[in-house]
């Protein structure tokens, strides 16, 4: 031990130098590897970041589908001017198509609906007295003037649609009575004792019945279905036939008049559908005995839905993507008016008709093919044909039933809003969705 120490003491300098030299080598190795790794990582991260940035330079083109049930077309790729132009063109085409369909639907939905009095809607004359005067004329138009023999707008519209009424009972009664007298006179003249025997009287009665039925049926050849104003019902905004325009009589407000007009359009839609059903193969209106719809028993129109200026409404219906929200609890179609629905308004009508049971499909089809109407409910009940016949309703030789229908009419706001006064728009919440 002392020898080693002595050896180390005597040669400490070269030993230290050798140790330093030899120790430097692995130390340098370790440190250089570490630095190398750091440099590589830095370079890799830097290059990776740059690469990711380039790869993220993409855009997503969306070509929306306008056909229900078909998916939108989504393209995620690098931006490209030609592709951008092409996508824009595709979108424009779809917008145009949607526009065409909207125009078509609007035209179909609007049909011949328009202001019943020109210059009154959407905004009437600015002058109050002039407005009042026009509203009075409007009232006269709608209610008619019995004293002057002017029928109401409803009566005129029903007649133009092919509606008629039962024959005048008094006149017919007079006719039958005259025939009865005639035949009894002939029978008594022909009999030996100047009396009419029971059998002959029975024959006379039968011929009178036939004559009466014949008169009912002949009368029914002159129109397409039975209906008059008495079948029209509705709500308190509907002018009743008893209202007459008199000096000092209450003249409806501008807004109230619009509601009348809206109800009148509903009536036009319903009568249009009935007219379509009652059109024969030659394009002619059929007479009652051949018509699928033989009589309107009752027609009730629900109020125009009013929401006011508040947003939101009961039920929590929310519009997504600007589309009208649907409420499956409302009806089988789910369509419902709401403050979130800026696309259309829904009018509901309850209708009771006497129809030919065999031709019922054509009646339903007529409603579906007129405007944008849907039959949402249908109940059929038997009726006593002979009872109706005794009242003058001659339906012919077909089997008939009473059809109680619920009709849903959709009015697109694309054509109704331009006719609405601003106040009505506010009442209906038209401007709620901006």
């Amino acid at each position: 031990m002392s020898g080693i120490l002595k050896f180390l003491k005597q040669r400490w300098l070269p030993i230290v130098c050798v140790l330093v030299v030899l120790g430097t080598l692995p130390t340098a190795w370790i440190f250089s590897n570490k630095w190398n790794a750091e440099i590589l990582k830095t370079a890799e991260d830097d290059a990776g970041d740059k690469l990711n940035k380039i790869k993220r330079a993409r855009v997503t083109y969306v070509i929306p589908s306008v056909v229900p049930g078909q998916q939108d077309t989504t393209i995620s790729d690098s931006p490209n001017a030609a592709m951008t132009a092409w996508v824009a063109d595709q979108r424009q085409q779809r917008v145009e198509q949607a526009g065409l369909v909207m125009a078509d639907a609007t035209k179909r939905n609007k049909a011949k609906h328009g202001p019943l009095v020109q210059g009154l809607y959407p905004e009437g004359p600015g002058n109050d007295s002039q407005l009042k005067r026009q509203m009075r004329e409007y009232l006269e138009l709608m209610t008619g003037d019995a004293r002057a023999g002017k029928p109401s707008w409803y009566t005129r519209t029903l007649r133009e649609a092919g509606a008629g009424t039962v024959p005048n009972a008094a006149e017919l009664g007079q006719l039958i009575a005259e025939q009865k007298d005639r035949e009894e006179a002939i029978a008594s003249a022909e009999s030996e004792d100047g009396r009419v025997d029971a059998e002959r009287q029975k024959q006379i009665d039968e011929s009178l019945v036939s004559r009466r039925i014949g008169e009912y049926r002949r009368h029914a050849q002159g129109f397409s279905f039975y209906a008059d104003e008495s079948v029209l019902g509705g709500h308190n905004l509907f002018p009743t036939p008893s209202m007459e325009a008199r000096d000092g009589a209450q003249v409806p407000s501008h807004e109230e008049g619009f509601m009348w007009m809206a109800d009148a359009w509903v009536l036009e839609d319903i009568l249009g559908a009935i007219g379509a059903a009652n059109t024969g193969v030659g394009g002619e209106r059929t007479e009652v005995e051949l018509s699928p719809v033989k009589r309107i028993v009752k027609l009730e129109i629900d109020k125009l839905p009013l929401f006011g200026a508040r947003k939101g409404d009961p039920g929590g219906l929310i519009s997504r993507d600007g589309r009208a929200p649907l409420d499956p609890n409302a009806s089988i179609t789910g369509r419902v008016s709401s403050s979130e629905n800026s696309v259309y308004d829904v009018r509901n009508v309850r209708l009771e008709l006497v129809v030919s049971s065999e031709k019922l499909p054509s009646v339903i089809e007529a409603f579906h093919s007129t405007g944008l109407m849907t039959v949402t409910d249908l109940d059929l009940t038997e009726i006593d044909v002979w009872d109706d016949l005794s009242q003058g309703y001659a339906y012919g030789n077909e089997h008939v039933v009473k059809a109680s229908m619920s009709i849903e009419i959709v009015w697109l706001r694309s054509w109704t809003v331009p006719l609405m006064p601003k106040t009505v728009q506010q009442i209906l919440g038209v401007n709620n969705n901006g």
């Binding site: 050798v18 990776g48 490209n80 002949r218 049971s357 089809e365 030789n397």
Partner: protein
């Protein structure tokens, strides 16, 4: 000099250290330059550190290229025609049926005499209805399907019990203007000032329908005149409203109302009754289609069709000759005609005219092979030229997918149809006889039962249930197809070698959908008799096991009956017939054969029994003699051309022994021969199993130049044009 006290290690330690360090240096240098440096991973690529940005550059260049691409790949975006989708959905009916069955018993209010209308004893003028125009007639022969036989007692009585139920018919077709009928009903025939008024619209608005199409026939007598005028009976087993009315003795107007409603619902079957479903043979076609198929108004088409037939015949003769000589090593296609391949215009690339299969020969020097190729190529060219003109090689015009109004008229209700097609069948014709026809629609009588509304002079107007329209003009004469024929195709006089006169005769007899042919060489005194081979696999069905086919398609599918007056958009004609489904699980082909794969001759007894394999054809005719046609042969054109000699055969036939002269050239050129021979050929082709193909000919696209896909030849029709004077 070694130092005292210094060991060798101490003496050389600096060298040792230097060596170690040198080794390390060497190692470092090796690692630096010989061993590749560790790379970096950039975008799933391993690259050297100094090239770490290369992937980035590449990606950037790629993205830039995509951004600058003037024609980027566009996705396949479906064209959306929203408006048409909207229109089609709006137009779609909501309710599947136009009418329901009444939900209860209808009220019977009877008719009534409207007071004030028609009760004043005024005169009413019956409308001057227009006559049907353009009457034409065509003959057809087919084998009625046993299911039709089973479904109708009247048809069973007519056809008897023995299968096959071969039946000949003449169909007469015309068109009528329904809108003119309506105008006639509304028109005051004698003017506003006249005494008579038109019938009140209320009398006919409840229904004015065609109850039936009545056919009247005249027979060509032996002296050439027309006689034996008769009203043709209705077709057994079909809707016969007129027949039912004629058996009704009633004054009940409701009966007429009900029959009118039935007529309205069955308008298509009344005006265009389908022929019976057939078990084999060419499909029946309406006369307007059959006549068009058999002819064309284009002289060029006729010329090409004749040329094609001549080439076809020559090819067959040459192939037969080569086969006989044994120089044909391969096989020809069934039917004998070498199919042609491409060549000519319209074929992609204008390929060579190599036929799909042709007789191969070990001797390539045989000039007949080259001649066969040439003829095949010519035939292919002719076929292509015809296709370009819209005709098949047999002269058939290609069908379109649309309903042919020239054949089936317009699909609309009576009053709104200015071209209502109607036809009627005469199944009482005698084969071989010539007839001419005229037809008229029969309507319900609007004045029936309205005695009280008519004046005394017109009371008879109210008696009849029906109101017939005027007769059309007579058709041209049409010969009903006979059951059997014979044609003299060759005749030879006695030659110098001692052989006697003889004639080559083709005998045809109709059996199971087609004419079957037998040939014989007759000598004077020989009765015409030969045995024809019938293709295997034909079945005479077991009628006891037949079930009525609920969805049996008619023999020809005219525009299907959709809602009255509304053409069925999915309809189309000429769909032919579906494979006859006799029983579930058993399918037969058109010819009644079992699907291929079954052994020949094995017929399930439940299905039926095999039909005849050999048909004995015996014609009541005897060859008397053969003689040269005077003036034939010799030299013409100054002796430069040798004209062929012609020989004619003298035949006697019938109990009366009438003598007729038959000239082969005339016999072969006759329309009857063309039709009968074509039927025979079609029967031969139908014998070849076609299990995978439908039985309908597809005429809607030009067929390939291949025998298998050729549309069948048209039904034999002895067509008669219309327009003859009444």
């Amino acid at each position: 000099m070694k130092l005292k006290g210094v060991n060798p290690a101490e003496q050389h330690v600096e060298k040792i250290v230097l060596g170690v360090v040198a080794l390390v240096l060497l190692g470092v240098l090796t690692m630096q330059f010989a061993i590749p440096p560790k790379g970096v991973s950039v975008g799933n690529r391993e690259v050297p550190p100094d090239k770490a940005l290369d992937p980035v550059l590449d990606e950037a260049r790629r993205v830039l290229a995509k951004m600058n691409d003037p024609e980027p790949a566009r996705p396949d975006v479906s064209q959306q025609e929203l408006k048409s989708v909207f229109a089609s959905r709006i137009a779609q009916p909501t309710v599947p049926a136009k009418r329901f069955a009444p939900l209860g018993v209808a009220t019977n209010l009877g008719t009534f005499d409207a007071v004030g209308e028609g009760t004043d004893g005024g005169m009413y003028a019956l409308p001057a209805l227009p006559a049907a125009n353009g009457p034409i007639a065509s003959a057809y022969r087919g084998s009625v399907h046993p299911s039709e036989w089973a479904a109708s007692e009247a048809l069973r009585q007519k056809l008897g019990e023995d299968q096959p139920f071969d039946l000949g018919v003449v169909t007469v077709q015309a068109f009528i203007d329904g809108s003119a009928i309506r105008t006639a009903l509304l028109t005051d025939a004698d003017g506003d000032g006249g005494a008579a008024r038109p019938l009140p619209p209320s009398w006919w608005r409840q229904g004015f329908e065609i109850l039936g199409v009545q056919l009247e026939r005249e027979h060509r007598m032996s002296d050439g005149s027309w006689g034996e005028r008769t009203i043709v009976e209705g077709m057994p087993g079909r809707v016969d409203v007129l027949g039912e009315l004629s058996q009704t003795n009633t004054n009940d107007p409701m009966m007429l109302v009900e029959m009118t409603r039935l007529a309205a619902a069955e308008m298509d079957q009344i005006t265009k009754p389908t022929f019976y479903r057939t078990i084999a043979g060419e499909l029946w076609r309406p006369p307007a289609a059959a006549i068009t198929a058999g002819s064309s108004d284009n002289a060029a088409v006729d010329r090409l069709v004749r040329q094609a037939k001549a080439l076809d015949r020559d090819i067959q003769k040459l192939q037969a000759a080569m086969e006989d000589d044994g120089s044909a090593g391969g096989s020809t296609t069934p039917g004998g005609r070498a199919p042609t391949g491409g060549g000519g215009k319209g074929r992609g690339g204008g390929g060579s005219s190599q036929p799909a299969s042709r007789p191969s020969t070990g001797d390539r020097a045989d000039p007949r092979v080259a001649r066969l190729d040439r003829m095949s190529e010519q035939l292919g060219s002719v076929e292509l030229e015809l296709e370009g003109m819209g005709y098949a090689i047999d002269g058939t015009k290609f069908d379109t997918a649309e309903i042919d109004e020239d054949v089936f008229g317009k699909m609309a209700a009576l009053f709104s149809n200015d071209k209502l097609a109607m036809w009627s069948h005469d199944v009482t014709v005698v084969g071989g006889e010539t007839y001419r026809y005229r037809l008229r629609p029969v309507f319900n009588n609007p004045a029936f039962g309205r005695q009280q509304a008519l004046s005394e002079d017109q009371q008879t107007l109210a008696e009849s249930l029906t109101f017939p329209g005027p007769w059309s003009a007579w058709t041209e004469g049409v010969q009903a197809l006979d059951d059997e024929y014979y044609f003299v195709v060759n005749a030879r006089e006695a030659d110098t070698l001692g052989g006697g006169p003889s004639a080559s005769i083709e005998l045809y007899e109709f059996y199971y959908g087609y004419y079957r042919r037998a040939t014989m060489t007759a000598e004077p005194g020989d009765q015409l008799y030969a045995e024809a081979r019938v293709p295997d696999g034909l079945v005479l069905l077991n009628t006891e096991n037949l079930k009525l086919l609920d969805d049996a398609e008619p023999a020809v599918a005219p525009p299907p009956r959709g809602p009255r007056g509304v053409p069925d958009p999915d309809g189309g004609r000429g769909r032919g017939r579906a494979p006859g489904v006799i029983e579930p699980g058993i399918t037969t082909t058109r010819a009644g054969q079992r699907p291929s794969g079954d052994q020949q001759g094995e017929i399930d007894p439940e299905l039926g029994e095999p039909a005849l394999r050999k048909l004995q054809i015996r014609v009541d005719a005897v060859l008397l003699d053969v003689a040269r046609v005077p003036g034939s042969g010799g030299q013409t054109d100054g002796g430069l051309v040798e004209a062929p000699e012609e020989f004619r055969a003298f035949m006697t036939s019938g109990a009366a022994g009438s003598v007729s002269i038959r000239l082969p050239s005339l016999d072969e050129a006759s329309a009857v021969y063309q039709a009968v021979e074509a039927s025979w050929r079609a029967g031969q082709k139908a014998a070849a199993p076609e299990p995978a193909e439908t039985t309908e000919p597809d005429n809607r696209r030009p067929p390939r130049s291949d025998d298998r896909n050729r549309p069948p030849t048209p039904a034999p029709g002895g067509g008669g044009g219309g327009g003859g004077s009444g």
